[in-house]
Symmetry: C2
Subunit: 109 residues, 2 copies
């Protein structure tokens, strides 16, 4: 006779109000800043509000195409906003999303 083994995951001590699309967005934001170059870009934008792509390219030791790619990741993750100004693009922090990120982090941990 073999005994029946019932797998039980321990009971939760509490609930967490994050899931679905919000959770995906949060993970995307974490992932975007989990890269040294992109973190450096965010630091640069904090200390140099609304500068253009070229300023960041001049500042960083990597190719323009790569910077543009990183800016796209940060933009799609919601960390920054880009505004086309003539032939240039001006970037600034997406304050609303950043505030949202902080609230979620404070809420979860």
């Amino acid at each position: 006779m073999s005994e029946e083994i019932i797998q039980t995951i321990p009971e939760a001590c509490c609930t967490l109000d994050i899931s679905g699309a919000d959770q995906e967005k949060l993970v995307t934001m974490f992932k975007a800043l989990g890269n040294p170059i992109r973190f450096e870009i965010m630091k640069f934008l904090v200390t140099h509000p609304s500068c253009i792509t070229g300023d960041i390219v001049d500042y960083l030791p990597i190719a323009q195409a790569t910077v543009s790619q990183h800016l796209k990741v940060l933009r799609q993750a919601g960390w920054i906003e880009g505004t086309v100004e003539g032939t240039a693009t001006s970037y600034c922090l997406h304050e609303k999303n950043i505030a949202w990120f902080r609230q979620r982090v404070d809420e979860i941990f």
Copy 2:
């Protein structure tokens, strides 16, 4: 006669007190949570304090080896702590590092 062009990066509006090893640690923490499975593990640990590896393996739809690998990433990033208890390993949040993370985020953004 060609005119000399001097590249100038715009002046900073402020300074940011994060760099070097601290910055690397912060990026590593962001990177670790920038993965859906690892985020899910963190959520599980928040709601199920000090559970063992097997509990997480039962909860997630992925192989034990993969869970173990993700736990290692979270441990090395400083999000969690593991304690060997006999043949099992019990994991819990690394509260101190988590607090440090939140302080840095609040400080920067």
